[in-house]
């Protein structure tokens, strides 16, 4: 084991260093100055994110347990960016009376979870994958019940931990079947043939991951957990946790389950239709904006499956590209929800009536975010969805494409409902004018910038495509 090999785990080392630094800060700040951790954590994580973007080397460490290459580094960087935005948006919420004495714990939990994400993406061994998945979920379950003075938050924590324990059990059963057929847990040594047992093990493994991505029919926990959790945790769950699971699914499809393509294509095909349709139909009925965004994120997961179904490197590239855009769009929407909830405590769509008259910039941000999620040109979301549809069309899945386009139209309807509430509906008592804090304004501006430019600046997609063609 050389230093060179250890340095391959740069992302993970940085995150662990951030955890240690935050622990030391927590010890050294007096009770009254605990809120100083908030800017410190933002600065630390900005540094972590920036160093992550430096060029890195390819390689394997620990006998193949840890794999890193440009595509995995890119995945980690996208998710780090999402976490940074979540951190910037959560400052004012953490400063409130109820939370300020547990500020550091919030950051520790999220960063530990990100360590799990990194190890999971870089896993070259099923045990590492499983540990990463647990490290991703367990801290977040605690963070979901962060506002224990609200019974809904406690409920969200319990629901998340129970459903994830259930999905982990299914996943472990799948892994043990895989081990039983192949006799190894290293990705590189697993050579699958199309026996029934490997198919069943794939189904179980897929179900376990589908819980995390909240693919229908494994989505039942999503709305309740998203509604009950603190909004910052909800945005983490819907962007980072979901994105990480999708990335891992991509890696699995390209490596371990590559030989089973005919099987997983059918599974992805079926679940994509259900996920899009059910996510959309339920989203129409929601009044609570967090539940609304929960179902919208389920529907988005369905569109993402569209890019995977062909199993081509181009499809994989469109998925990664779409997630990059999804990070910006969804976090912009959540940023507005967090800001409004912080000031007024209101969370229903009808509460947003007349928001444009009092808070025009916030409304414009929300509108851009929702239009990008709906896929309206010229915003980035349009290009993301368009590329996903192209990937499915190139592989000849025209029926699926037709259903997806129908669903895109439905989704446009309910995204516009929110826009209509903000811009057209009149309200007797609209939410008054307010100014959110500095850091969340930076975060929202970054998201808006991302929404406006990611689509037009084509080198981004070309770069992702090049990496995917090299590694898948």
């Amino acid at each position: 084991m050389s230093l060179q090999e250890l340095l391959l785990m740069r992302h993970e080392w940085l995150l662990i260093a951030a955890v240690v630094a935050l622990l030391l800060l927590e010890l050294n700040f007096s009770e009254a100055k605990k809120t100083n951790v908030i800017p410190a954590a933002a600065i630390i994580f900005t540094i972590v994110t920036l160093i992550g973007f430096l060029p890195s080397e390819n390689g394997r460490a620990f006998g193949g347990m840890f794999i890193t290459d440009p595509i995995r580094t890119l995945m980690k960087n996208i998710l780090n960016l999402g976490v940074l935005i979540v951190f910037l948006q959560s400052g004012s919420w953490l400063r409130t009376q109820n939370n300020f004495n547990r500020v550091t714990e919030f950051y520790l939990l999220i960063i530990s979870s990100v360590i799990g994400v990194s190890y999971m993406i870089s896993a070259g061994h099923l045990l590492m994958f499983y540990l990463g998945l647990e490290l991703l979920t367990i801290p977040i379950a605690a963070a979901a019940s962060y506002e224990q003075y609200k019974s809904k938050s406690a409920e969200a924590g319990i629901k998340l931990i129970l459903s994830s324990a259930f999905s982990s059990a299914i996943l472990l059963f799948g892994i043990s079947m895989l081990y039983g057929t192949t006799g190894t847990l290293y990705f590189s040594d697993i050579k699958l043939a199309g026996e029934l047992l490997t198919v069943l093990s794939f189904v179980f493994l897929f179900s376990g991951l589908a819980f995390k991505i909240s693919i229908v029919p494994f989505h039942l926990w999503t709305a309740d957990v998203y509604e009950g959790s603190p909004t910052s945790i909800t945005s983490y769950l819907s962007v980072v946790s979901k994105g990480a699971a999708i990335f891992v699914l991509l890696i699995f499809f390209a490596s371990v389950f590559g030989p089973l393509q005919e099987v997983w294509q059918q599974v992805v095909y079926g679940t994509a239709i259900f996920t899009m349709t059910i996510g959309n139909l339920f989203a129409i009925r929601q009044q609570n904006l967090k539940r609304f965004l929960a179902f919208s994120s389920i529907a988005q997961a369905g569109f993402i499956l569209l890019g995977m179904v062909g199993g081509t490197p181009l499809g994989m590239a469109t998925v990664i590209y779409f997630i990059l855009i999804y990070v910006f769009s969804n976090l912009a929407a959540f940023g507005v929800v967090v800001a409004v909830e912080q000031v007024s405590g209101k969370i229903n769509i009808t509460d947003y009536n007349g928001l444009y008259n009092t808070n025009p910039r916030l409304s414009l941000t929300m509108m851009l975010a929702l239009f990008s999620l709906a896929g309206i040109p010229p915003l980035a979301g349009f290009f993301g969805k368009f590329f996903l549809f192209t990937a499915a069309a190139e592989s000849g899945f025209y029926t699926l494409l037709f259903i997806a386009v129908l669903n895109a139209v439905i989704s446009l309807y309910y995204y516009l409902l929110v826009v209509k509430a903000m811009f057209i509906n009149k309200s007797d008592a609209p939410i008054g004018y307010f100014q959110s804090d500095y850091s969340s304004r930076i975060a929202m501006s970054a998201c808006v910038l991302g929404i406006l430019t990611t689509g037009f600046y084509s080198p981004i997609f070309e770069f992702i495509k090049k990496l995917c063609l090299e590694s898948f």
Binding site: V19, I115, P139, A141
Partner: protein, 173 residues
Amino acid sequence: MATSAIIFYVVATIMIVFSLLAVTSRKILRAAVYLLFALAGTAGIYFMVDYYFLAAVQLIVYAGGIVVLIIFSILLTSHIEEKMEKPDSLKIILTAILGLGGTAVSLYVITNHLFTPQPTTGVEATMSTIGEKLLGYGAGGYVLPFEVISILLLAAMVGAIVVAKRNKPENHD
């Protein structure tokens, strides 16, 4: 029938029965005790296939440590006298169908699979090889997961603090 086969079936029956009792019992303390027997049965299976180390770990950590921990936390937090509500019969029937169906599919697939026996000669699971593998960093070494688990434990402890730390009593909703 060979003695080992008889022992296997006895242990397996104990495991199945107690596992079922653990999840169907309506008193939480009883469920924890039933779980103890299910875990001890697993250790018995490990002994039968010559995984002595794993069997010892199973007994010490799971049957010894974790069940005691579970019982402690039950005694500390809940009312042991309380009986769980009886779920309505539709739910029971649906879960039973689902459970039995899943079992049937898994059993069918596993019993119809032609497992290739792995040669175990030459691999002796002595304490020293287990120790070397656990802390080895080459192929087949497990030091990385070992260390990642420590991060997981740290995160779990912080999580426990977040869940347990009480705030000032005002601001109830």
